[in-house]
């Protein structure tokens, strides 16, 4: 497109001039921007200020300006910023965004020099696999991880005599028992047992994990090249959920709303759950929360993992890219700092750091789930488009559409996006 090229030339010219003007100042300080999603307390200004203070002690020549995103508007915000030519230098999120979305669109910097042999050695293999695309280019340097779980209101379950259907030791249950438990809770007078929220935006992993686990379906193929949500197992699971009394397909809810409803006792179960939710809502919860794995036929859940780390947008400024790498290196590799960085997220490290949560009961409780972590498949191309289509599919099912048709439409749309160049 000629017009834009002309514009680009003019802009480069302008930038060269301004770079020349700014070269004196550059020696003093490089300013980079970091945009974080609310990953535990990485979304909280007070905590991040503390982390930055230690970074600036070590690297006074780099200033980091932080913006805090949310999952409702965050993606749109980055997308508009990219189009507005002001993408952040650093962004903190997971591979589904850094690798499968912006990385796949060629907007991110290859982080090969951070992924040294030493780093590859230390970082768990599954995490390493998730942080690169199919050609082996790394777009993310990971910091922390967790397993997304679901949770139940133990008080309500106890009153409904439904605790017998789950294993409080291993935190697992079978699909059959899950059905029985929902029936029992519903019969006890709890009108709304759970909600399959489908209002969109964040929290999609909860609904995916639920559907996939019930009858052992998968969301993508093993090679992470294609969406397979239209498999028989998934259709069966969706049909089961759509037909269950007490489980609402609710298009007016987003993940955050579901959590609110669970915390105030309206719902007896939450599908959008992990340790951070419990920590953040501790003041609002007046009952005993029991985090659970998603129910499966075999009793061997495949939990959806969350991996969070840093990616760098290619804004064409070498100095900033270097500074951003320095920042990542400090936050994720500095021996003392990494513990603090991980703790701020309230998740677990992506490499062996010893038990950093010694004596923390809640963390110990949740660490049970790490063993159930399944394949990290959120790296298929067209992920952002697929997620949008997933919500549409759930909404269609919620309003009575034939499950097999809705699922077929989803797979078609998602795979079209995956193969688009």
């Amino acid at each position: 497109m000629r017009l834009r090229k002309g514009l680009a030339v003019a802009l480069t010219g302008a930038m060269a001039v301004s770079a020349f003007a700014g070269s004196v100042a550059a020696e003093e300080a490089t300013e980079i921007t970091l945009w974080t999603y609310p990953i535990g307390s990485w979304g909280d200004a007070a905590t991040v200020e503390g982390l930055l203070a230690s970074f600036n002690e070590a690297h006074p020549d780099i200033t980091v300006k932080v913006e805090y995103l949310d999952y409702t508007n965050g993606d749109d915000k980055i997308n508009t910023a990219i189009e507005g030519g002001q993408a952040p230098d650093l962004v903190m999120e997971g591979p589904e965004r850094l690798v499968a979305n912006w990385g796949a669109k060629g907007l991110m910097v290859d982080l090969a020099d951070l992924w040294t042999d030493e780093a590859k050695e230390a970082i768990y293999d599954s995490v390493e696999a998730a942080c690169q695309n199919n050609e082996g280019v790394f777009y993310e340097y990971p910091l922390c991880m967790t397993a997304h779980t679901m949770a139940i209101n133990r008080d309500v379950f106890e009153a409904a005599d439904a605790l017998q259907y789950l294993d409080e030791e291993t935190r697992t249950w079978t699909t059959e028992n899950f059905i029985k438990a929902v029936e029992a809770v519903y019969a006890s007078g709890q009108e709304n047992v759970a909600a399959v929220y489908c209002g969109g935006q964040g929290g999609d992993q909860g609904t995916r994990a639920l559907v996939n686990n019930l009858y052992g379906g998968t969301f993508t193929n093993a090679e992470h090249t294609e969406y397979t949500a239209d498999s028989e197992e998934n259709i069966k699971a969706l049909e089961l959920l759509a037909g269950m009394e007490g489980i609402n397909f609710d298009a007016s809810l987003q993940g955050a709303d579901e959590i609110n409803l669970f915390c105030n006792g309206t719902l007896a179960m939450a599908f959008c759950w992990n340790i951070a939710q419990e920590k953040n809502n501790v003041e609002n919860i007046a009952f005993d929360v029991l985090p659970m794995a998603f129910p499966t036929e075999t009793g061997e859940p495949q939990l959806c993992g969350g991996i969070w780390g840093f990616g760098i947008f290619d804004n064409g400024d070498e100095a900033k890219i270097e500074a951003a790498k320095t920042f990542i290196d400090f936050m994720a590799n500095d021996e003392k700092q990494v513990v603090e960085s991980v703790k701020a997220s309230s998740y677990w490290p992506v490499k062996d750091l010893g038990n950093i949560y010694e004596g923390d009961e809640m963390m110990t409780e949740y660490s049970t789930f790490v063993q159930y972590m399944g394949d990290y498949y959120q790296v298929v191309g067209g992920w952002a488009e697929a997620r949008t289509a997933w919500w549409n599919m759930l909404q269609q099912i919620g309003s009575g559409a034939e499950v097999s048709e809705a699922v077929a439409t989803f797979t078609e749309t998602a795979n079209a996006a995956a193969s688009a160049k």
Binding site: G22, T72, G84, N280
Partner: protein, 300 residues
């Protein structure tokens, strides 16, 4: 005769009752925001509505003001890197400052340019007048979403992206104001203009001394209309502004909805902070507002 008087009375009673009920409904959101901002987290998330805070707390405002900090203002000298920044204040205060600046700048620029252009279109005869006016009428109802992507790229190229000007300039460019003022200026009697010309007044003097006083009410109306519209222009703010320092109060509130948990108390406090100043503005200027806009509309 008696029965009509009776039915008039019944109609009156019924309609006043209906309007009182509707008024309650209309006042409710603001009532809920203000009381909600003083409720505890438990109360605000309770499943049965708490009509009145059982306990008044300031925690929501404390949270709002302790969330993030930003300089009170920052002024960059054009074409340089020299920036003057104010003292650090809670970000919510900065958002208010930004919103006021944005609304006032949009209002001032719109009124100034629209007054001149509306006057020219109504009172001057020149080539291209009809074309311009037709374009204005056609573009008047155009939603900004239509030009979303080009506007974004343009602002980026002008290096105005993520500055308040990216929101202000499209508001000023929106031609409704010109249309409105033109309708007012049609009412300026030709004799007055003629008299001014015979007196040898310059074009500018004719405008500023003869036309301007006549269209003043229209400008007043446009001013308030633009102020409130830009205060509420959530869409452009959402697209154009990305950083804490450039954010506005509406955007700030919308961004408080995070995945982990939506803190309604915090949102209510922000909403109250956003609503109260503009309501005060409205109350103060109410008289002027009604007067100005009606005269224009009647003259239409």
């Amino acid at each position: 005769m008696k029965s009509t008087a009776m039915s008039t009375k019944v109609y009156k009673v019924v309609s006043v009752t209906a309007i009182v009920i509707l008024a309650v409904l209309f006042a409710f959101p603001l009532y809920w925001i203000v009381t909600g901002s003083f409720k505890t987290a438990q109360e605000i998330n309770a499943t049965s509505p708490a009509w009145w805070p059982s306990e008044w707390v300031l925690t929501n405002y404390e949270k709002l003001f302790s969330k993030q900090v930003a300089p009170l203002f920052s002024i960059t000298v054009p074409f340089t890197d020299i920036t003057f920044a104010g003292p650090q204040v809670p970000a919510a205060i900065r958002w208010l400052v930004n919103t006021v600046f944005m609304a006032v700048a949009a209002m001032g620029l719109t009124c100034a340019t629209a007054a001149m252009a509306g006057y020219a279109l109504a009172k001057k005869r020149f080539f291209g007048r009809t074309v311009v006016f037709t374009m204005i009428v056609c573009a008047m109802a155009l939603p900004k979403q239509v030009i979303l992507i080009p506007l974004l790229r343009e602002m980026s190229a002008l290096k105005l992206y993520n500055t308040l000007w990216a929101v202000i300039l499209p508001i000023v460019g929106w031609p409704f104001g010109v249309f409105l003022i033109k309708q007012f200026a049609e009412g300026i009697p030709g004799e007055m203009m003629e008299a001014a010309r015979i007196d040898g007044a310059s074009e500018w003097k004719t405008f500023s001394h003869v036309a301007l006083p006549m269209i003043k009410p229209g400008i007043g109306a446009l001013a308030i209309f633009t102020f409130i519209n830009s205060w509420n222009d959530y869409f452009m703010q959402l697209i154009m502004l990305t950083s804490t320092e450039t954010s506005t109060i509406s955007l700030g509130i919308a961004n408080m909805q995070a995945e982990n948990s939506t803190d309604f108390g915090l949102i209510m406090a922000g909403a109250a902070l956003a609503a109260i100043p503009i309501i005060i503005v409205f109350l103060i200027f109410q008289k002027y507002f009604t007067k100005g806009i009606t005269m224009g509309a009647v003259k239409g």
